[in-house]
């Protein structure tokens, strides 16, 4: 089974990060697919990872290690990006 890890890149004091986390959780719950895994990444705690991805601000959404959204996407766009990668 090919899994897809949806990572929400967050930081303390980032107001829109809460919305990004809520959005990702909602989309994952709606898709109800066992292949989907959710992870929250505090960029300060995982700074090397965030920098290697090319992250410049939060929130951002990373799919299987690929920096896909540099800002808060719509639910439709996030769902579409997930579908494309799940195949």
């Amino acid at each position: 089974m090919t899994t897809l890890i949806v990572e929400v890149m967050t930081a303390s004091g980032c107001i829109r990060c809460k919305r990004a986390k809520a959005l990702a959780k909602k989309v994952i719950a709606e898709l109800d697919d066992d292949r989907l895994l959710y992870r929250e990444v505090n960029v300060i705690e995982e700074l090397d990872y965030a920098v290697a991805l090319g992250l410049l601000s939060t929130p951002a959404i990373v799919l299987n290690g690929e920096f896909v959204f540099s800002s808060l996407p719509s639910a439709v766009k996030l769902r579409q990006a997930i579908f494309e990668r799940l195949g």
Partner: protein, 130 residues
């Protein structure tokens, strides 16, 4: 052509160091006017900028001397000097990659600092390291 004081002001290299470079032949003999005052040409300045950059990269004066020869005449450089140039090129590339990572890290941290209403993550990160 400019005087030594202007070179000091433009490049931030002291007059003593400029005279020393000439003495050890890192810089060819600088032109003197009728009163014996040194006048530096654009070519001299270009060479001095190269020396300064290379020194900042941590190259020794002897290595810089060889690289300057290479710079003057790359086609006729000896294999040993070419090898040194390749080796130094690799070091510069590595340095650039490290600088790029540092730039991105600082850019991310400054962006986070600018948007955080209750503190600055840069300071938190520095605190963690102390």
């Amino acid at each position: 052509m400019i005087r030594i004081g202007e070179v000091v002001a433009v490049l931030g290299i002291s007059a003593d160091t400029l005279r020393y470079y000439e003495k050890i032949k890192l810089l060819p003999r600088v032109y003197r006017n009728g009163s014996g005052i040194r006048l530096y040409s654009d070519k001299d300045l270009s060479r001095l900028r190269f020396i300064r950059r290379a020194q900042r990269m941590g190259f020794s004066l002897d290595e810089i001397r060889q690289l300057l020869g290479f710079r003057e005449n790359p086609q006729k450089a000896k294999p040993k000097v070419r090898e040194l140039a390749y080796q130094k090129l690799a070091e510069v590339d590595l340095h650039l990659a490290e600088l790029g990572t540092l730039r991105n890290e600082l850019r991310l941290l400054t962006n986070l600092c600018g948007t955080s209403p209750d503190g600055c993550p840069i300071l938190d990160k520095i605190d963690d390291k102390l």
